[in-house]
Symmetry: D2
Subunit: 348 residues, 4 copies
């Protein structure tokens, strides 16, 4: 157990939102059919349909990587390729799960602010040699919303990507591990950010916003849902007592608490970035759209922060600071003060 005061590693290091824990505990009453044939899961699906303003199918899963991999597996057809940004979670942090589930190759695109661009996608597809059987056949595009660097696609950007995808007959997947944070940042509706923008299938994560290992795969096209339960089972992703995930997701989407938590986390990061930028020697290049700040600091400052007990991920001189949905503003102020002190001390 670590001290939340010093922990800026990630939003999945945190505990559980009170209402979700309650929902989970309440699901322990009575008995229920296993593997998702239960009333909690049925209510969860209904709730998703309501929140997304259309009838959807939704499947409870306990890991985001599992959600992404199995969602992609119904888009690719056991071979071919999936286009994504070279920094995307499915490429870098899922140990090859997407390829394992799909049999497809990930084709990596570049693009500003860690986002793929419609133009880049178009150009890549033009050069994909579609029709040549020695080349992998493109089946899908995957966007991470928000990206692993905390940047958010606008509705216009998503729609443009979807238009290109559609033109080439490709399906569009959205990795929404931090879906709420993107939604809070854009201030739009869940429907706007997904199917109205052309998204066919969504991995919606709740774990990083207060849930206990609770994610859901949502299909906006019923034909994609046919094979999903079989492929989930084949991947070992079907939960014996699925109701404990479904109960959380259902509660998660039942009111605005999920968005308030995301708004708070985003606001904390915005405030953190603003404060850090005022400290000489701190450089923040990556736009701060959601709850994470990438700051470049002198080596001595980083070491000083680590000595003070701060926890964060680091690549070279760049550190990532993530604000959790229960982020205390006081702890944030302490962090800023610590950075300032470390900078002063290093400057001596």
């Amino acid at each position: 157990m670590n001290d939340p005061r010093y922990d800026f590693r990630s939003d999945n290091t945190g505990g559980v939102a009170a209402e979700l824990l309650t929902a989970l505990v309440e699901a322990a009453h009575g008995t229920a059919a296993p593997y998702g044939d239960d009333a909690w899961t049925a209510r969860m699906v209904a709730r998703c349909s309501e929140v997304f303003e259309r009838r959807v199918k939704a499947f409870p899963v306990s890991s985001g990587t599992g959600a992404n991999a199995v969602a992609l597996s119904v888009l690719a057809n056991g071979f071919g390729s999936i286009y994504c940004h070279e920094s995307s979670h499915i490429e870098i942090h899922e140990a090859g799960a997407p390829e394992f589930y799909t049999g497809a190759k990930l084709v990596l695109l570049k693009g500003h602010d860690y986002k793929i661009m419609a133009s880049g996608l178009d150009s890549a597809l033009q050069n994909a040699g579609i029709g040549e059987t020695a080349r992998v056949l493109p089946f899908a595009v995957s966007v991470t919303q928000p990206t692993d660097y905390g940047t958010v696609y606008t509705i216009e950007e998503l729609s443009a990507i979807a238009a290109v995808a559609r033109r080439y007959g490709l399906r569009l997947h959205m990795d929404g591990a931090r879906f709420a944070n993107a939604l809070a940042a854009l201030g739009c509706s869940p429907a706007d950010m997904t199917w109205r923008s052309g998204v066919d299938i969504l991995s919606l994560g709740a774990t990083k916003n207060g849930a206990i290992n609770a994610e859901t795969v949502i299909t906006f096209d019923d034909t994609l849902a046919t094979e999903l339960p079989y492929r989930m089972k084949r991947g070992g992703l079907v939960l014996s007592k699925a109701r404990f995930v479904s109960a959380q997701i259902e509660r998660y989407l039942a009111d605005d608490l999920w968005l308030e938590r995301a708004r708070h986390a985003n606001e904390m990061a915005r405030r953190l970035a603003a404060s850090l930028r005022r400290i000489p020697g701190v450089v923040i290049d990556v736009p701060v759209h959601i709850n994470m700040v990438f700051a470049t600091l002198p080596e001595a400052v980083i070491l000083d922060l680590e000595r003070r007990g701060y926890l964060f991920y680091r690549v070279g001189l760049e550190i990532r600071l993530v604000c959790r949905s229960d982020q205390s503003p006081e702890h944030l102020d302490e962090l800023v003060a610590s950075v300032a002190a470390a900078v002063r001390s290093a400057g001596r």
Copy 2:
């Protein structure tokens, strides 16, 4: 939500053991590193080592199918074959997950009481054409302990199977989704029923004995643990907040409550079988070693029971009645009375 009074479908329809729910709730305090690098997981591994009387490695997973599939994946080498009983869970109820993770073929064996036999395994391996490259190369054997029909391998049977496996250079996996029930039935130690009998890797399930989607893969040979985390991640089985599974497993094995629950469930089934056998027209062929009773009943009786609201699985005229670890004896007596009444009523 179903009424526990009438629910004899399975042991994964039930709720949560009090101490496990408490352990889960307590794990929500503070922050913790994600993906199993947390203190709860470390304590869970230590607890497994203590309970199994040797240093083991253990990995938290949220599904039994996932646990089996990934455990087998480090035994087979991306191809080849795995020997198991034709009625085993990995063959019938996992939608091809073992083949997906291992790249291997399951070779099906027959055997009394739904158990493979050392002699049958030996004979199958003799005829496997080992060395012929057109044949699949055997890599492993998997036993389900207890079996899906509630029968239990004796220590002698396990040891004999392990001896054959070793002779051919195969590894031995145990699917222990109801591990506690088998242990309670045999009255032996976890070590005796596993590595001392020649088991190399174990899927230990807690979900069917009171936990919330909590299983663990335990390796008795460290070399098998090297690739496991990578293969788990690739399957989407690594949990973001793994501590909520690990905390349950750790608590599960901390005292004798897990065995008491299993003993209770087993005893309820023994009692149920004894009572049903006294009712004319009820046939119970499958030995009742643990918490499940397979009873053959006249069609009219089955329909009568269903009309009364009873829930159970059925194949032809055989129904499966499973006693949960929180099985109320009163509900059991009611069930017996209902069967007797249904038989009488059908006899008129």
Copy 3:
């Protein structure tokens, strides 16, 4: 190099039919586009269409296992199951290639004379739990025509199997490694034995009937041909100089020589079986429909034959004797005389 006089191992130990060697040599003139985009392949496809009395697509491959595996891969959808006889080549002698290419599980059926039966298939599918996501979803049926034991499905049997398959929405594959022998045995047309009987996709082998590593996958439904070239390439089955296989297949089907060769081989086996049956102590249980004879002999006789230099495959006391398409009747008579002599000598 072995002496054909003593070689009864298989029909793929033989040399090359004169007209096929000529066709191959002639394909070496000029240059041609690689990977099947050549004039020889186009002519081969046209020839297949002519011989099968409808427009088909056809793909040259150099191995029968490759042909089967890739043909099945467009029937299964990356998971699920394929039904076949427990003795079929795809189960026993392809080292898991069908599972590798399809991602599906082979479900094994029993049946007289090494053939699946429509009734057995129906019953298995009824019990397959179609719709339960924990069970593998059936996608296809595969028949080996003729079987590895030399028995041949009648047109009625094939049609009945196809009718059951269709009823459950499954596709039908035929493994025709010895297609010509079955055709010669039935005396029907290629169309009758395939698409008119409900076959969707065929692996047609020529190698065992005089060709050099020349097989072709033929689709009777164009939608199955869309993905085939991609899946072939992904399996490494696309040939750089495909014309050398296509030229053989085209010539193979150009006149009746292929059927004459098959008829001769079948006739040789019929004659061999008739002669052997007259020798006391020789038991021939398996019907001799094509060019192979399974004979059970005393151990001493088998050893005597081996001492005389005879080559054949053996399981227990049963030996397999295969007549090649260039089988010399004199060598056959010598073999019969040798068996008779060995029996006499063993009887002393």
Copy 4:
């Protein structure tokens, strides 16, 4: 059939070297055990051992993609990653076969002249997060020698790459589809260019240098050969009448004809490049190490050449001209004259 005079598409559009056709025809005598257990294959392996100056194992295959994919499959362990150049054949032109056979991800490196560099490999591996289970675990490096752009690694470059690979515990594969051309270019021994430089496994192609679909996988470490035949069979790559490939490979390596052919093709390309460079408006940026020339020409010139009947591959304004091992110098001179004429005509 195309006219060799105008065909500069590739070196696999050509016919067959006389001595290889003879070897193939001679292998049709007598009978032989199937699937590579024949005398021709044994002699081929012995020949490889002689030519590579150490005892090797070698396996006949009929496709280069198959050879590469199955060779890589024994390096990766069913998951993980393989490092290669972003322009490599295994990435661009094999439709995902390497990923299919290996279960691994290809990680793409940049590097001058289409070659990976030891320094780039080192840096990529440093940043691969080795040990983090969310990252793919590196298993192997693959070099294409020569590259698909006709550039050749020097012995020093290969050795430096091998040293980095070894430092990280990775194995080294060489895709030698045009092995002879690289050897001819470097003037070194087969041993120098492979195992003495640190190569563990080689795909040696003969098809592009005069053979009929004949390639061989050669292992320089016997432990890599154990699984190869099983994995080949599982991929449908084992040939029924393997002797027809082995006989070609054996003859191919039996004297210096293979190198003479490669030298001739290389020399033709050198001469072609030199002549083309003298024509105004022709730009040749890619070094011409072997038998291919990449020339950038005005659109009008390209169209003019196509109108004259010339066949070649084209990307944008860059065309690839490949000299076959039987390239006629006269046809080359005609091509140069045609380009010059086309340039003049376009200039008007």
